[in-house]
Amino acid sequence: MTVMEQRDTRRTGAPTPPPAWQPRTDPAPLLPDAEPYRVLGTDAAAQTDPELLRRLYAEVVRGRRYNAQATALTKQGRLAVYPSTTGQEAGEIAAALALEDRDWLFPSYRDTLAAVARGLDPVQALTLLRGDWHTGYDPHEHRIAPLCTPLATQLPHAVGLAHAARLKGDDVVALAMVGDGGTSEGDFHEALNFAAVWQAPVVFLVQNNGFAISVPLAKQTAAPSLAHKAVGYGMPGRLVDGNDAVAMHEVLTEAVTRAREGGGPTLIEAITYRMDAHTNADDATRYRTDAEVEAWRDHDPILLLERELTRRGLIDEAGIQAVRDDAETMAADLRAHMNQDPVLDPMDLFTDVYAEQTSQLREQAAQLRAELDAEAETPGAEGSPA
């Protein structure tokens, strides 16, 4: 319609044509609850399956021990860096356990624990952080994408994979994990928008642990909550207590099921707290107080599970000790494997850049080969026999 025609419409009093824009979705059902969803410590906890409680407890205790062991390995120089999830184990583990074998996990660099809970070998999960290779496993084997270091860039991958799976007729769901800081990235927006438009079977899990390295949430976003962002994309947002393993398992399972059944994506915000620093390279005392950290100790995910198991008489001291012993065995095994020096072949630098080496890479590989041969022939040189 031209401007002249519009004017004519006004003059003649003809009805205004309907706007091109029509609301597609009623926002109300998409909005998250005002308070994070909780099960442990409420009356609803009595309904929780005892086996699930026991399993979550054992896994979360193992996760805590894994975090402690990996952190110790950084101090011994065995790991270049380790972003600990101490305090966040419930979310990591409950999310991974909500997936079926055929589903895919898209973890960030902090989500080693989710990958291990999914069955990945604990040593393979650490190669990125040890520095011997970027990804120490075949992503297709466990259906775990490489741990992603750039922020939120793995989220569109999850959308694409889930979309492709649906096009092929497979009922596969992708779970994409990101931190609170990652929600400020452009890829977060693009991924959520694509997922909602395509109704892709994806679950986005934001673990809000309070800080993006040192920057608190209040400086990260002005949104009422990160879960509220969902409504802008036309998907439901859920707010859940990230330290409550049972609540996490329930909310994640619900979202995964909904996605699998064609209900589209969900954005879940898990409220949690990172008890350790961002990594061993970070000094958390510069941006938060001991009192703040202490306040979260009473809301520890292990404590919440232990209280519930004990209250219902599902575990005793011996049972708790058995779980701790099992975690200790896992840690000893991890320690033993990580204390072995990885055997690396420098010539691997040139494989897997392209399917077929370019002539440029062939020349460079020959150069390195010659350097290695010369090194091996020089007495006293590194790698030569003593």
Partner: protein, 337 residues
């Protein structure tokens, strides 16, 4: 008198845009894993009509109009490729590809490498590039140097109708990610070409001599090829017999063909639209010098766009290397020594 059947298979003038569209169509028909996606590629058929008819023929699930978000388009393509599809994404215009750079550099280029070969990504990224069509700001960049500087990417650019078809088919069939640079101003360049019986073209990574000569080698690609061929014709009047090498593929780079030509002629000029400083010509000149130093009669010269942001369309003719600028460079090749 020709029969109807002969008429149907005869070579007729076809544009590069038609050949590209045909390559997409034939790739999709040959392999159900091939998916075309991008902004406007479906109903509209692409702003240059390269994808015209694909959504109708193959359905919207295989030729998909996406939300307007380049990082999202390429990022989703990564996940699709992880699940066994072969996405072909369109970036619509060169400068619109920049939001997708992080996906391209941090993930697409290195997924094979970071997973030690377990997760190759057969993605083709179609990027219409270069000037000469009177495009306004952000519609005429030559961004090949950025792509060339990223290990893991194959970078291809056709200059002929036959190459447009052949190289795009090869790119889509490649198990590696390919940045497929389409010279916008050649979209409507016509050549006799038979879509029913496309000729085989040399594989990716092979440069070809488009015009043999003995006096000097013009090394070029994409939109500058017709400029160089015209310059070579004009140079005959000056007594120069110029050889023209079309690189076709910037990565992998065909050192052998280029060096063989320069060793024959002893002189070389690199011609491209993108800026000279930090541009492809510097790399090419260095490689030629390293391999042909004792055969060279003159320094390797570059004829490039100026080192300026791409100019407004009313001034672009002063920026783009034309026949005269190429001939001026040839004249500077120390003929008297």
């Amino acid at each position: 008198m020709t029969t109807v059947a002969e008429k149907a298979t005869a070579a007729k003038p076809a544009t590069m845009a038609q050949a590209l569209g045909r390559a997409l169509r034939d790739s999709m028909a040959a392999d159900p894993a091939v998916h075309v996606m991008g902004e406007d590629v479906g109903t509209l058929g692409g702003v240059f009509r390269v994808t015209d008819g694909l959504a109708k023929e193959f359905g919207e699930d295989r030729c998909t109009d996406t939300p307007l978000a380049e990082a999202g388009i390429l990022g989703a393509a990564v996940g699709m490729a992880m699940y066994g599809l072969r996405p072909v994404v369109e970036m619509q215009f060169d400068a619109f590809a920049y939001p997708a750079f992080e996906q391209l550099i941090s993930h697409v280029a290195r997924m094979r490498n970071r997973t030690r070969g377990a997760m190759p990504l057969p993605i083709t990224v179609r990027v219409p590039y270069g000037g000469g069509i009177g495009g306004v700001e952000h519609h005429s960049d030559s961004s090949e140097a950025y792509y060339m500087a990223t290990p893991g990417l194959t970078v291809v650019t056709p200059a002929t109708v036959a190459d447009a078809y052949g190289l795009l088919r090869q790119s889509i069939a490649s198990d590696d990610p390919v940045v497929f640079l389409e010279p916008k101003r050649l979209y409507w360049a016509k050549d006799s070409w038979n879509p029913e019986q496309p000729v085989d073209v040399e594989p990716i990574g092979t440069a070809v001599v488009r015009r043999p000569g003995t006096s000097a080698t013009l090394i070029t690609y994409g939109p500058s090829l017709p400029v160089c061929l015209e310059a070579a014709e004009a140079a005959r009047g000056e007594g120069w017999d110029l050889e023209v090498v079309d690189l076709r593929s910037l990565v992998p780079f065909d050192d052998a063909t280029v060096a063989a030509s320069v060793r024959r002629t002893g002189r070389a000029v690199v011609v491209h639209e993108s800026g000279g400083f930090g541009g492809p010509g510097g790399e090419i000149a260095a490689r030629v010098t390293e391999r042909c130093f004792h055969h060279l009669q003159a320094p390797v010269l570059r004829v490039a766009g100026f080192d300026i942001p791409y100019p407004p369309p009313m001034l672009e003719r002063h920026h783009l290397p034309g026949v005269d600028r190429v001939l001026d460079a040839v004249a500077r090749l120390q003929w008297d020594q």
